[in-house]
Symmetry: C2
Subunit: 459 residues, 2 copies
């Protein structure tokens, strides 16, 4: 039997794609910046089929590239040019296995789409808190494999914090069932942690038990204007003190972002009198918030860590305020090319980092304009640099300056996007030789033949 015959038998003939036209969507990454090649695409519909496919590939020494919703930003699910790998799409493994409302858990296949999981939880009066722009396509298995972040990390943590149980298929086709719905379990090594954020290089996530939380009943939103970025950290401290964990978003963006939008939408009124920086603040709670929220905002104004504040009084107004934050990426794109960086530093270091890195970049590259915004409460800065349209400033040069500054601040060059095939070289500068050796030892122990998603994470 040929390899393809074995593969076809493993997943059923209809689930094996070999026609280049059918394969095309699976070998180009989300941003459309990279296109590789594949021997075939397989779309198994059960965990047993996944296991059998991996076993067949392992025996034939054929590499497997697992792929979820293909919404990753680091080319972690796209095969390389060599064309010697099989793409294993989890798209048909999309059953919600069980929802336990009393136990506050949901058990799902890896191919379930995030929006569907959120919707199903909502129907049961629960919240699955992870939320991000790609949630209509992103799949649970990919979100686990990249330890996804999103907009509610300040309150609920990243994907890692949502995973109670995991089912994986190892590099040799062994299926490990760890679909346990336990809040506490110290029986031996917590092996599921290995696969969270491993970008499919240690095995394939096929199912997960996820934590649910109570659905908040009240929400309150405001925009603060501040004159100095340091005030953002002070305001964060005041609001954490006054609002505790009800604080569910704490975003910052500069006047430059407001100006970019106003340039494209001149009829729009600015959100408030011009300030150097703006903070988008949201709290949500089972408890009524209005009084506490207003008191907390007053405290930031009285304490001199905010200069102005606008409170959303209804959901339309809330949406309008959020649009100042959410439309930044779109207006950035309209403004021309840019070098994007997804970096993190300690929360308290965000202002110093942004100020110093901005000065360094704009001094070094005449014509470059920094647009830095992001999540203060996560220490996560989208440190983007608008570049002249003529290509006179090479992106890599800008990135080198930004990443060097990140290292100086003890930060991360990839806060939430991961390494994939896009940041492999940068990883070597980010982690010590000892750390790299440890990662490679783990990789060797779990995937001695190197068939699991080769080319991702490690170069």
């Amino acid at each position: 039997m040929t390899f393809f015959e074995e593969l076809s038998r493993a997943c059923g003939p209809g689930a094996l794609l070999q026609d280049p036209a059918l394969i095309a969507p699976y070998v180009t990454d989300w941003r459309g910046t990279f296109t590789g090649r594949a021997l075939a695409v397989v779309r198994p519909a059960s965990v047993n089929e996944v296991a059998e496919i991996v076993r067949v590939c392992a025996q034939n020494r054929v590499a497997v590239v697992p792929q979820g919703g293909n919404t990753g930003l680091a080319v972690g699910a796209t095969p390389l040019d060599a064309g010697d790998a099989v793409v294993l799409s989890l798209v048909r493994l999309n059953r919600i296995r069980d929802l336990d409302a009393d136990g506050f858990t949901i058990s799902v296949d890896a191919g379930c789409v995030l929006a569907d999981v959120r919707e199903r939880a909502s129907q049961a009066g629960r919240l699955f808190p992870l939320s991000l722009a790609a949630e209509g396509s992103a799949q649970i298995g990919g979100l686990i494999s990249t330890n996804a972040g999103g907009t509610s990390v300040v309150r609920y943590g990243t994907m890692r914090a949502q995973v109670l149980g995991l089912e994986v298929v190892l590099a040799d086709g062994t299926r490990l069932d760890g679909m346990r719905a336990l809040r506490k379990d110290n029986a031996g090594y917590d092996w599921k942690q290995l696969f969270i954020g491993a970008e499919g290089t240690l095995g394939i996530v096929t199912g997960a038990v996820l934590k649910l939380v109570p659905k908040p009943r009240f929400v309150a939103t405001a925009l603060l204007g501040i004159d100095r970025l340091q005030d953002a950290v002070r305001a964060f401290g005041v609001l954490q003190h006054m609002l505790g964990e009800t604080l569910s978003a704490f975003e910052f963006f500069p006047q430059r972002a407001v100006a970019l939008r106003l340039a494209h939408e001149p009829a729009l009124a600015p959100p408030m009198g011009e300030r150097a920086w703006y903070l988008l603040v949201e709290a949500s709670s089972a408890l009524a918030l209005d009084d506490a929220f207003e008191t907390a905002l007053a405290e930031t104004l009285d304490g001199g860590c905010a200069a102005d504040a606008v409170v959303a009084t209804d959901s339309n107004r809330r949406h309008e305020l959020w649009m100042w934050r959410e439309s930044i990426t779109e207006h950035e794109r309209r403004a021309g090319p840019s070098a994007k960086h997804d970096v993190s530093v300690a929360i308290s270091q965000v202002p110093a980092f942004v100020i110093e890195a901005t000065a360094a970049v704009e001094a070094r590259f005449s014509g470059a304009r920094v647009l830095a915004f992001g999540h203060i409460g996560d220490g996560n800065v989208h440190f983007n640099v608008l570049l002249p349209a003529d290509g006179s400033i090479p992106r890599e040069d800008v990135t080198a300056v930004v990443h060097a500054m990140v290292r100086q601040y003890g930060g991360s060059i990839t806060a939430e996007h991961g390494i994939g095939r896009y940041r492999r070289e940068d990883l070597l500068a980010q982690r010590s030789p000892g750390e790299m050796a440890l990662m490679r030892a783990v990789k060797r122990a779990l995937d001695p033949s190197g068939v699991m998603n080769p080319g991702a994470v490690f170069s």
Copy 2:
């Protein structure tokens, strides 16, 4: 140079103990149930000394047993009888390195005592949320290595959820510096997860960066009486809905626990009219709680998931209510011998598990009386069984019945205590051969010579 000369040079002569009288406290476990032997005890005062000691031991193929506050309940930090290991105590590595109030982090040596960390955070207006009975002795490194739980897990999670950065010394003496204060960092494998809950079998934790949270400003406590244990899960759902994440404790205990205490303290008034089960409920928040708390309790009474409620009106009354829960262990001890089990199941399965396991144990062992209590919100049950003083019922037989029931419910035989040397055999029944193989592969990859805490976790 002899091994002991090398060791003495590695940590300074005063830090090497060889006198049996001085060694004695380090080779007996917290419960006093097990005493082993050691070649020596070393008490390094710096991370470099830890690394040098481990290097010397590795070169001489001598095993190292890391020890924190020696408060573990699973004999994970006590050497075996062979007497061929060195105990490495972290007690002198006890410096709080840094506290970043604005960044909500604290950076500490592994030997820092939990109570000191909590106190230092409190002075800075922050809370380090992990809290447990042994906090006056338990050290951060040990708490990380056992992924400790405690009383605030329902709200803040276990120790794993508190760790942002980690510093470890590997089995060959390599020091890995991962002391990063980042909320988001997806640069390669998150290797620190390997060492959390590994019980010192993969390396030695020497330092950590821990998350801090806002200090709650308001607290509210109540005792609910319920007639059926199923009502506890319903009440948990109602209170989660009404109080959200402000719910910081949700404990349950049976009438038998109240009766045991009243038998020893006959002058005491019962907490309320007799009920089958009691729920100790506490909420804490940055927001004022009183109205919301009373409304939430009324909802449990109106909804028929609680039969009676008493609210603590001041801190004395709060303490009195908590004493009904906290004194259980003491009165259990006075009642005679018992077989203790630290088990967990899904939150929604706690009632069925407790009822079925109680029936099974009491039917099988005449004279055995189950005393089951614990944390509903964690699915964690202290399923203890009071035994006749004459030793007529062997503990192991009772444990076999309880653990078999735990497996039937997909639960864990060790929710928070870990495996250590005490539950090694039980681990084999708890985890599949595939899971055990994966754990052993990780152990081999990180500690190929088997010098790190041999005998713990694996038999």
